[in-house]
Amino acid sequence: MSGQLHKQGVTLEWIRGQLSGFGDLEDKIMAVPSGEVSLLYIKSVTDGQTISRNVVAPFYEMGDPAAYYSYIADYPGSEEVTEGTRALDLLLSGYACIGQAGRLCFFDALKAEVSGVKETITESISQGPSDALGESLAVNLNLIRRRYQSSSLKMEFTIIGNVSKTKVAILYDESRVNHNVLAELKEKLDSLKLDVLQAAGELEKYISSDKLRIFPKTIVTERPDRVVFNLAEGKVAVMLDTTGYAIVLPSIFNDFFTAMDDKIHLPFVGRFLKLLRILGVAMTLWLPALYIAFTSYNPEIVRVQIALLIGGSRATVPYPSFVEVILMMIMMEFLTEASLRLPRAIGPTATTVGGLILGQAATAAGLIGNIMIILVSVVAISNFLIPLNMMSFSIRVLKYFFVVAAAVLGLVGVVICLVGFTMYLCSQRSFGQPYFKLFFLDTLGTTLRKKSGGE
């Protein structure tokens, strides 16, 4: 009997084919002695209560499939559809499909998950959507599906962690994704043997191949719009239940310097902001190192006035510039870390005491030069220009390499370090994609225009 119904429902079969690979697809047959009805919907975008109350319950109350079908078809907001693409659109936007004797009717059961969606904290922007991914996978999938209504967006589910049994969803746009990347990711996820998996960052650590690395190879983001933007670029997103962050891969160096409101700004403003970020990175990396090089090795490089000014401000400092820089930078790191952990009420006190009073006292005591204080503040502030936290932390650590190189070899050390890290960056690959290039559009082009046979 049921086989007969499925044979008659040609469009239903077609829909099932289109939605293969949808882990969140619910495909049910409801049967009473006089006949049966197929029920098809996507769980992550529909409201389970609406469906059970308005779709399932009436069927068993009425007990007659044909009458039930006309009841559903007459329901306000319902739609009878014969065309395939329209049917898919409706399903993806939160309708439930009811099939009876070859006819298809779509019932509006959209779940609008508004409550429970919080605002972004770590990646705030000035304009644009402020929804953040929540800690429930269902909510997150809803947030993504609502922004990406295409039948080529596939979701696959697996479970990782022997004890934690964390639900993991892999999202990708089938028509745009690089299938090598997808295969590599799945292979890595399959080979994972863990007891507990709790955070997206943790997973990031496990699926990256080399153990000793300084730069993040995948974006960890809390913004659904960033996930959607990247999915449309052919990337793969991995989402975990119980964490408010998603992983996007493959991610190249440039991706970490893109804020989501770059697109909102006027072209020149957007470029300017991007330039600011690059300048910020350059400052935070090089300023401490150059300070050491200019004071201890090559004071003749800068103008005489500047050299004298720095020398004058350091007149009372009883140790070489290397010690001064390391001391102040470690102090600054303490402050940053402390203000992260402190309760919100005490946070401002810590920054005031640490930043203002301590800095003032240190210069008054002659332990630190005035210029050093300015420098440390610039370094600390410019470090936070980077929109994504993972990269910001990497750069924070990276600057110590430059400091040490400058302390050993002066300006030459800084240059050696620069060449070394440029080469290192270029040698990195994120899931087969070159991590760092002069014209990063090349790299993006491979995913977007891979059919045209680019590089």
Binding site: N298, V412, V415
Partner: protein, 365 residues
């Protein structure tokens, strides 16, 4: 797969590097007897070499020198040839490093020990020359992106300086009608020999398409002219011969009026040391790859390959340390000697490749 534009990067790297070391000195030594005509000859032969070499290497897509020689020549002939070329590449890289140690001591930090600087250079060059060829090309492109604007700035600033003596330049021009001289030709053709790195980098080029070779010759000509005439405009027709690192003294004569850094020397030094380190990395990478091909195959044995690489690079570093005992005069002699050898080496390499192509085609027919 690398795009053809990376070939231009390799070429550009060599033209720019050429300004530092032996080329301006050799050309300026011959400024009254044939440097000008040598430049023209060098442009012609250099372009011809590029044309022939890229033509013939294109017949072997994705193959480096070891693969080509291995497939066409008897092993007894191929192995010594590859060894000699590897040594040549190694020496080219080592000379760049050694002269930069000298330059750094002279111009930047006289109080840092020469061995400390060399160890720093060796650390970055040895570590980075292990990186795969394609990534090195990306790195080269990034480096050019950083340094090229600075180099252009220096050049423009040098030429528009009101104290630049055009009279001196014109006076040297009056000595143009002179037979070319071999030393100058050898020095000037080095400007064009960036293409030779394809010997290994051809592995990542599949179907190299070169358009507008004339741009390469124009660019090479301009660089040679600038590298020859600008120092003369600064130091005078006769005064110029007293300088060893001609371009560094020239850059030191330029003042930047409105910037934190007042002396152009440092900008110039920064640009050129960055580029030179990358060029040394690339040259040692080629040398290392050539030597690796002589050792037993290590496919699928990464540990063994790592061991072989470490041995080669330690030998490279030890060689550079041993060469540190040379003084400036010896270094210069060795450099000029190498410039000559390299020129004949390039010629031989092109002939060998044509021969290999002939053998392979006859075998196939």
């Amino acid at each position: 797969m690398a795009k053809s534009r990376y070939f231009y990067c390799l070429f550009l790297m060599n033209t720019l590097i050429n300004i530092i070391n032996f080329a301006p000195r050799e050309l300026i030594d011959a400024r009254f007897d044939g440097a000008q005509s040598s430049i023209l000859v060098a442009v012609a032969t250099g372009t011809l070499f590029i044309y022939l070499f890229t033509k013939v290497i294109n017949k072997f897509p994705g193959q480096g020198l070891p693969e080509i020689f291995g497939s066409a020549l008897p092993k007894l002939l191929a192995a010594p040839l590859i060894f000699v070329y590897a040594v040549l590449w190694y020496m080219a890289g080592a000379l760049i490093l050694l002269s930069f140690v000298d330059i750094t001591l002279r111009f930047i930090s006289p109080d840092t020990g020469p061995y400390a600087i060399l160890f720093g250079f060796l650390a970055v060059v040895c570590l980075c020359s292990r990186i795969d060829s394609l990534s090195l090309l990306y790195g080269l492109e990034v480096t050019l992106g950083i340094t090229l604007p600075l180099i252009l700035y220096t050049t423009v600033k040098a030429i528009i300086n009101p104290d630049f003596s055009w009279d001196a330049v014109l006076q040297v021009m009056t000595h143009s009608l002179h037979a070319p001289d071999m030393n100058s030709i050898a020095a000037a053709t080095f400007t064009f020999s960036g293409y030779i790195n394809l010997a290994v980098f051809n592995r990542v080029f599949h179907g190299l398409k070169l358009k507008h070779i004339w741009i390469l010759s124009l660019e090479g000509f301009l660089v040679l002219a600038i590298c020859f005439f600008v120092p003369i405009g600064y130091h005078g027709t006769v005064g110029i011969e007293r300088h060893v690192y001609t371009w560094f003294t020239t850059a030191d004569s330029i003042r930047i009026e409105a910037f934190l850094i007042e002396r152009m020397l440092y900008i110039f030094y920064f640009a050129y040391i960055t580029l030179s380190l990358v060029s040394a990395i690339i040259q040692w990478h080629v040398g290392k790859e050539l030597l690796l091909s002589l050792l037993p195959s290590t496919a699928k044995k990464p540990k063994k390959k790592l061991r072989q690489e470490i041995v080669i690079l330690v030998l490279f570093a030890a060689g550079a340390l041993a060469l540190m005992r040379m003084d400036q005069y010896d270094l210069n002699m060795l450099g000029v000697f190498l410039l000559h050898i390299r020129w004949y080496g390039e010629l031989l390499l092109i002939l060998l490749l044509f021969w290999c192509y002939w053998i392979v085609r006859r075998r196939r027919a």
